[in-house]
């Protein structure tokens, strides 16, 4: 083993956290937060789409009448 490899072995990482599988707790929390924000964006997108539809219909009605 080279000297640098030997030195790098000593670099402290969250190995125990991973070995315990607790890293999944962090992954699950962040993924949940992210999906919550995405769901919020999806709902906002739908509401704007609905508004666009309503307004374009109203416009065409006023033009035709």
């Amino acid at each position: 083993m080279s000297l640098t490899a030997l030195l790098l072995e000593g670099v402290e990482m969250a190995d125990q956290l991973r070995a315990d599988g607790k890293i999944w707790v962090v992954v699950a929390v962040i993924a949940t937060v992210f999906m919550g924000i995405v769901l919020y964006l999806v709902r906002l997108d739908r509401q704007i789409s609905q508004l666009e539809k309503d307004l374009s219909q109203k416009k065409s009605v006023t033009i035709n009448s």
Binding site: L7, M13, A31, L41, D45, L55, K59
Partner: protein, 223 residues
Amino acid sequence: MAFMMKQNWWKALGVGILVYVIFQGLLGTVPRQPILNESIRNVYFHVPLWFAMIILLFTSMIFSIKYLRNGRPDDDLVAVEFANTAILFGVLGCATGAIWANFTWGEPWPNDPKLNAVAVSMLLYFAYLILRGSFDDEQRRARISAVYNIVAFAVFIPLVAILPRLTDSLHPGNGGNPAFGKYDMNNAMRLVLYPAVIGLTLLGVWVTQLRVRLRRLRTLLEE
């Protein structure tokens, strides 16, 4: 491009990519580096903010050029909203960078060429928003801020991407080295970082599109 905006698959693609980034970014293997330790994973979440910001600002500039060419108010509206999302990413980039720097460089905002350049750039774009707010005449506002937006981007790129490279910076890839040299990153990390840039950009375009559509509705109602 325009017909693609009406569809939704690219939004799902962006979200899917970002879910992959969260999983692979936290679970994948990373180089064991002293000082950085596990915080090297911030590369997946802090760096893409800046890349996405640059892409969004570039798009904003394109729409400003389009506005100056044809004078359609809608192009000006799109340009502002791309800039707005980009500035949000920039603020988040500053905040995440400060948190990370506090642990690896010892203080949240060290005196570093890259950080100084970013501070100037952020002020440059805040000034863009203030400039827009200072006109009553819509056509004047659109025209002058379009010119400013183009100049701002032309100053922004050398400031953050070229000048820090001519001196020494705490950021990797500065001081003459190409970014992401072999000592900073390995291929496994690139397989997360580059998707993260694409995913975050798509998310930024989505947010921008929502705001653009909302603004269009508002102008439609005002007519």
